[in-house]
């Protein structure tokens, strides 16, 4: 350090002495740099001056406009840490074992309660209720997936992306006259929008179901359901020189490549080229040259990176050329899995580049760029942790955990930056690691899980315990930042967790009970394409929903909504609640909810008619989720994805910690929004179903 300082001073003196002469022109390159640094300084000074001059006026206007809120506000700042899927029972257990000291401290100073989730307790539904303070009947999110009313095919429930409709065509090229229509299907108003209307600034980081982002007074980074660059929910790539090996059925693709000496050449597959009339995907070529038995050199886009076996690369930019002067930029990580005898290379889904986002992943749009400049590139895909690759056994447990930890680390940086920036207002950040790790490592807690196939090997370390302890360490840092500045801190989760041992093929059950009819050769076809709609009265899609094939709602509906629907709902619900797994003699379903009774609001007609609340250990089968009717009712779950929460909501409550005491025994996720509004002196809008918790009613 001392040497560096001396060198620096010497250079400075040398330049000062010799640069006095006007002839010491230093050339465009360095001239640029000098000019650039002064330009940055000059720009900053001008903007500072402008802000300083206008600040009193803006402050006065805000104070006048929002004087009532400022006067009634009981807090300066509310900080909400979302730990997706953190389970109440497991947290209690780790607390009693003394493994979560910071959570214990928070519990002792304030409160620790179970947090009631939604029906169904699925992240998109639950987080939508959190942000809007409403039941699903008002925010229109009932599952990850819903059905297309015309084709019955599954589609994402939260987002709709439509290409531009008007084009100018020139030869083989076309140019959009207008932009793509990217629509958020979640309805109702997030409570931070209401806060903004009253002059309270919010920083909302990675709260699920916020893509595309909405405008409000604050900053926001989108999360769950934000697509990758190809528009999917995450499509990994696996390059191998092996001729016969891994197979992939979901979430990714295997590319077989030829080895030429020590080198393989291949392309990253990008989105479809929007400039070409003929559909054609864009490609980004890369080359991988073996260096030795454990490393290889990657060349991509003029950059060279040394890949070491079993180590993820940093985020690497992949540029896809659409036409002359038009490129789309994405980012991905490479993981060299094997060099000899066969090369195996895993590439994460190509995320939207936050530095130059191709889609609206943040509000304002420059917020993603700001974060990228501040901390380097980061995952932008909604489900950033690639559990598909783990399920297919293309990456191992440690490599998947690495992804989870890296994602959480990235998020921690952005969250702490927001805590530094926002000293008055709302800061929310949701961390996904707890959810992903419990989904994929519940098998470590469950010796009888079918995925062990009778050969359970106790793990060297518990990934779930580790992720809870990481959450505890994070909490410690957050608590330190909330100390003595009037911040109210809440830690919440959207649901808990439990085992997923057996999958139930609901469509098979519906078929067996005469509610669903398959076409000839219709079995095992995806997207419900094998169903004979003219004879089908009910069908299942997604993780918990059963839809009636209602007339005037579904395109080929046969059930009369007035005369038949109500009794059919009752009948199916009653029968389904009697379902017993012959292998275990245990009931598979705890309760079936009639959407028309549990939901309230203008969108309940779009909901599945029945919501299945499974018992512990059960869930909709993988096949049911994507509309494939198999030939048996129960399926052993052999995947690494061994834990789940898509069961009865009473069995998987979330957690609620607060640094203030609360009297409410059963807080609900949808109560958080009204509580925060009340703390800031704002009356919750009438459409909200949640109620302010007692903590909001106390004086600050």
């Amino acid at each position: 350090m001392r040497v560096k300082t001396c060198v620096f001073i010497f250079i400075l003196l040398f330049t000062a002495l010799f640069s006095s002469n006007a002839h010491a022109y230093i050339g465009p390159g360095a001239g640029f740099a000098v000019a650039g640094s002064f330009l940055a300084l000059f720009t900053a000074l001008i903007s500072a001056l402008f802000i300083l001059l206008t600040w009193p006026l803006r402050y006065l206007l805000r104070a006048l406009r929002y004087r009532r809120v400022f006067a009634l506000s009981k807090v300066r700042r509310v900080v909400i840490v979302g730990l997706d899927g953190m389970d109440y029972t497991l947290t209690q257990r780790f607390l009693s074992e003394g493994k979560l000291p910071n959570f214990a401290l928070l519990r002792d100073r304030g409160a620790f309660k179970p947090l009631e989730s939604t029906v169904p307790p699925i992240s998109p539904v639950a987080w939508s209720s959190f942000q809007t303070g409403t039941n699903p009947g008002k925010h229109n999110i009932f599952d990850f997936l819903t059905r297309d009313r015309r084709s019955y095919a599954p589609r994402l429930s939260s987002t709709e992306i439509k290409a531009p409709t008007r084009w100018l065509r020139l030869g083989k090229y076309r140019f959009a006259l207008g932009s793509a229509d990217i629509r958020l299907l979640r309805k109702a108003v997030p409570f931070w929008k209401t806060l903004g209307q009253h002059g309270i600034f919010s920083s909302i980081i990675r709260v699920p179901i916020t893509f595309p982002v909405e405008k409000f007074y604050g900053v926001q980074l989108a999360a769950m359901c934000a697509p990758d660059l190809r528009g999917t929910q995450g499509m990994f790539s696996f390059y191998t020189t092996a001729s016969e090996s891994e197979q992939v059925d979901e979430g990714g693709e295997i590319v077989r490549v030829k080895r030429q000496g020590n080198t393989i050449r291949a392309d990253l597959i990008g989105p479809e080229n929007p400039r070409l009339k003929e559909a054609q995907v864009m490609r980004c070529p890369f080359e991988l040259s073996v260096v030795d038995a454990t490393s290889a050199r990657l060349r991509i886009g003029g950059r060279t990176v040394l890949l070491k076996q079993n180590e993820y690369s940093d985020w690497i930019e992949a540029r896809f050329k659409a036409a002359f002067g038009a490129t789309i930029s994405g980012i991905c990580r490479f993981l060299l899995l094997n060099v000899e005898p066969e090369i195996k290379l895993y590439v994460t889904p190509i995320n939207i580049d936050p530095d130059k986002p191709a889609m609206p992943i943040s509000h304002p749009p420059i917020y993603a760029t700001y974060l990228s400049k501040r901390q380097g590139r980061f995952a932008t895909l909604g489900l950033a942790e690639d559990s598909w690759a783990l399920n297919q056994k293309l990456i191992n447990d440690d490599q998947f955990l690495d992804q989870c930890h890296q994602s959480d680390d990235e998020r921690e940086k952005m969250f702490f930056d927001s805590l530094d920036k926002v000293t008055r207002g709302l800061c929310v950040c949701v961390f996904d690691g707890t959810d992903r790790v419990q989904h994929t490592f519940w098998r470590q807690l469950d010796q009888t899980h079918p995925c062990h196939q009778g050969a359970y090997v106790p793990p060297e370390h518990s990934a779930i315990e580790e992720i809870y302890q990481r959450a505890d360490a994070l909490l410690g840092k957050v608590m330190a930042r909330c100390e003595g500045n009037g911040s109210v801190l809440m830690v919440i989760s959207d649901h808990g967790f439990n085992a997923f041992r057996r999958g139930v093929d609901l469509n098979y059950w519906l078929e067996q009970n005469g509610y669903l009819k398959l076409k000839e050769n219709g079995r095992n076809r995806r997207n419900l394409s094998g169903v004979d709609w003219s004879q089908t009265r009910a069908f299942a899609l997604g993780l918990t929903g059963i839809y009636l094939n209602l007339k005037n709602r579904e395109s080929k509906g046969i059930v009369d909504p007035k005369s038949e629907a109500a009794s059919l709902r009752e009948e199916i619900a009653r029968k389904l609640q009697e379902l017993v797994d012959p292998k275990t003699n245990e009931p598979a379903v705890k309760r079936v909810y009639n959407a028309w009774k549990v939901y309230d609001g203008p969108f309940k007609n779009d909901a599945p008619d029945l919501i299945v609340g499974y018992h512990l250990g059960y869930r909709a089968s993988w096949e049911t989720a994507i509309g494939r009717v198999t030939d048996r009712l129960f399926h052993d779950n052999l995947k690494a994805w061994s834990g789940d929460h898509c069961i009865d909501h009473s069995l998987v409550p979330g957690i609620f910690f607060c640094n203030k005491k609360i009297n409410d025994e059963t807080p609900r996720l949808m109560d958080i929004g009204p509580t925060v509004l009340e703390m800031f002196g704002i009356k919750a809008p009438a459409h909200m179903d949640g109620r302010a918790l007692s903590v909001a009613l106390e004086k600050g």
């Binding site: 400075l12 360095a30 740099a33 940055a40 900053a44 903007s47 300083l52 600034f201 420059i366 501040r374």
Partner: protein, 279 residues
């Protein structure tokens, strides 16, 4: 100092030889065109030099920090605290950027000075026309009292109009001559027993002009590379000719260097993303 001078002389010899080869075509094309082409090429070459002599990774990192602070000011504009903190970080970032550009700046000074000196030979002035008055200045190292004799030898292509005129306080001697014939000539000054030569160019065409036979000072020798510097112990310090200004808003006296600066910057800017240089 002798060592520095010999280094500069060596560099000058090399740059004169290379400059003669590389820039010979300047005499054959319009000045506006040649200066534009040269500025563009040098702008790009220096950009490449900057790329490989600077710490691109560190510069990129600081650039990102600076951009982040600029965006922070915009994103959190209602927070005075954020604004002030970002301002301070911006200031620090600018200093760091400046520090990172010092090394390449120092490395570039050498080639850029040599190139500019070579271009100065072409663009800083024009040759004398036949019949045009020529002012010659001889700068002495000693006072006139120590001199036994000082004269300008008669040259075939010139006639002396006025001189020698001595300025005792400045130790300078002036002559006013008139050119009678075109071409490259030599003026010979005799001081005591020693003869000192100075080149003179007369004619209408473009040519390399040495305005000064430089002294033994480092910078003087660097900026006037075409003639060998006079030794430090010599009676005569320097001999200077006052060539007329080259008349052009782009490639003329006092303008060419500005034009060079602007055009080289523009081309460097244009090629910056193509060559992936962070500055």
């Amino acid at each position: 100092m002798d060592f520095l001078l010999s280094v500069v002389s060596g560099l000058n010899s090399a740059s004169n030889a290379v400059g003669g080869l590389v820039f010979f075509w300047i005499a054959r094309v319009p000045g506006e065109l040649s200066i534009t082409i040269i500025s563009a090429i040098i702008g790009v070459l220096l950009l490449i030099l900057f790329k490989y002599t600077s710490n691109q990774k560190a510069i990129g990192r600081v650039r990102d920090e600076i951009n982040a602070e600029l965006l922070a000011i915009k994103l959190f504009k209602d927070s005075l605290r954020v604004t002030f903190v970002s301002q301070a970080r911006l200031f620090w970032g600018s200093l760091k950027l400046l520090a990172y550009s010092l090394i390449p700046m120092l490395i570039m000074i050498v080639p850029v000075s040599l190139v500019l000196a070579q271009l100065g030979l072409w663009y800083q002035a024009r040759a004398f026309r036949i019949g045009e008055p020529i002012t010659v200045k001889l700068q002495l190292n000693r006072s006139f009292d120590d001199l036994t004799a000082l004269e300008l030898e008669p040259a075939p292509g010139f006639e002396t109009v006025v001189g020698p005129v001595r300025v005792f306080s400045k130790k300078e001697v002036y002559w006013k001559l008139r050119a009678l014939a075109g071409g490259e000539h030599r003026l010979v000054f005799r001081v005591g027993d020693t003869a000192y030569e100075k080149r003179v160019a007369v004619g209408a065409s473009l040519m390399r002009l040495s305005r000064k036979r430089p002294s033994s000072q480092f910078l003087d020798a660097l900026l006037h590379p075409l003639e060998t510097p006079l030794p430090p112990a010599s009676t005569v310090r320097a001999i200077e000719l006052f060539y007329p200004s080259r008349d052009s808003k782009i490639c003329g006296t006092n303008y060419w260097i500005i034009y060079f600066f602007v055009v080289s910057m523009v081309f460097a800017f244009v090629f910056k993303p193509i060559l992936k240089v962070r500055i």
